[in-house]
Symmetry: C2
Subunit: 311 residues, 2 copies
């Protein structure tokens, strides 16, 4: 089976309290691909410019990601984003955004990418997400991410795109903005009425919540003493979550499987933020992931005992 | 055994998107007492004025709370707080604070209150917390709450008070402010170096985290479709958490017991916010609490299965 992701491939310049990088590999499709590469064969679709070289391809290929559908736009430059994080890493300011080749991006999927079993539509213009969705007719699970920009400037397109996927993965503030519903449980129910069976609310340092027909599930973020660079955490989470689904083609997509997927998403996100950009995930091992998932189980499990409460 | 709480007893005027109340029973010691009353015999210490009448006493006595140490200041008025919550209930503005009899509060504990097995020092001036702490020599577990005001205007007193207790229960933003450490794991470790063996970070709608010598534990808030009034959620959490400890006098205060206590704190907080003020908890039953704790276990548990990751 295989997993296709369509999204941005970028160079990021990031400053956090732990240091800075002037130019490093980033972008939603990259962070997603590396995380998902532990679970399935991943094909990445996105545009790059002349400044995207062998070193960048090698990071992806080093994790077995198929880069055939990375579109090299001759004479162009790769999407560039620059940002600075505040003291507690919960606030960030964008210093510069240069869309470059991403501005004219029209996803072109090879037959192999179209034949994917699972599809992730990373945050791009929602009409493009719909075009891609329509090309992947045999996908048994399609998940979509978006952002506040599209909620504000392309709301109708975004609603149409959401109605055509199985799973919406969004920051909780964006879920509220999109549904105009402050309560997360109600917001998720609204989304599910629009089509997606599965809603995942990303909550940053607080973790993530899952809502399906069978109910609610939540996990905290994995506790870390040092978070170096939160950039790409959400896409790494999605890579672990969607990747886990892709790794189970024979199983019905039930609540219990998705809860396990949440744990893998949480683990992958936690590794991503430990170092700048793709540095940590690029050299991650299966043993490390398994250990962190097991630890996540321990730090969220309580076993109640009978207790006579005073009525 | 018995549990003593010292803190504010108040009338609150609250407006939320779900309605408003002009004058209802509130205050940290009240919310704590009602929640803790399901676990142990509770004695509440705090000042009230002439406007505090039988109806208010009856709410507490109706849950079996001992009100003998509520100090009636003749000619005075009870602490009054008024606030309004925003759209998503995560922001609130204080409209009015009238300290009234609380301004001159000097806790006077009866012999029975001093003989408590467990003590909760709700948010009051830290020097007063220290005075109370010193009077309860036989308490086997003392927990303390505080607020940003005391971090700013009485930091040294607060640090001294913290050094004398077993457990600090604080909002996560206040933990960061107090320790000047943006990372929660590091902040909790710093606090533990100051004395408390146990640190609980309250995270509002995201739940709560626990740090002990044995490690980290976290639970999400219980998911609710309707949150009517968040006032007192933190004190209700503390009442469930500390109350659970008080209900287990024969057990060593280990990590596993405290994880279970977190579940009860989470459950009590979730009931508190379902209606205004003390309305919901005042008529809560043991069966409802047990059901919510069980449900909380279900919505946080995942069972990992062996999976061959692609290394």
């Amino acid at each position: 089976m295989s997993l296709t992701v369509v999204g941005s491939i970028a160079f990021d310049a990031v400053r956090t309290p732990f240091g800075a990088r002037e130019r490093m590999l980033g972008g939603s499709a990259v962070h997603f691909s590396l995380a998902a590469s532990f679970f399935d064969a991943v094909r990445v679709v996105g545009p790059v410019g002349d400044d995207f070289g062998e070193a960048e391809y090698e990071v992806l290929r080093g994790r077995g990601v198929d880069t055939e559908d990375i579109e090299h736009v001759a004479g162009g430059r790769t999407f560039f984003w620059s940002g600075v994080y505040g003291w507690d890493l919960n606030e960030r300011d964008t210093l510069d955004t240069q869309l470059n080749v991403f501005a004219e991006f029209e996803p072109k999927l090879s037959a192999a990418s179209r034949a994917c079993d699972v599809l992730f539509l990373a945050n791009i213009q929602p009409d493009l997400q719909r075009q891609v969705r329509a090309q992947c007719e045999s996908a048994r699970f399609v998940a979509l991410d978006s952002m506040n920009l599209w909620i504000e400037v392309a709301r109708d397109s975004l609603l149409a795109a959401i109605s055509e996927v199985d799973c919406l993965i969004l920051n909780d503030a964006e879920l509220r903005q999109l549904t105009e519903e402050p309560n997360l449980v109600r917001a998720a129910r609204r989304i599910r009425e629009w089509g997606p069976r599965v809603v995942v609310a990303k909550q940053g340092e607080y973790g993530a919540a899952l809502v399906t027909e069978e109910g609610f599930f939540a996990l905290p973020a994995f506790p870390l003493e040092t978070v170096v660079d939160p950039t790409g955490a959400g896409d790494s989470f999605a890579g672990g979550f969607v990747g886990y689904v892709a790794a189970h083609p024979g199983e019905p997509l039930g609540h219990e499987l998705l809860c396990r997927a949440m744990a893998y998403g949480t683990a992958l996100a936690s590794f991503n933020v430990e170092e700048f950009g793709t540095e940590r995930v690029a050299r991650l091992t299966a043993v490390e992931i398994a250990a962190r998932v097991a630890e996540l189980g321990r730090i969220t499990r309580f076993v109640d005992k009978p207790l006579a409460l005073r009525d």
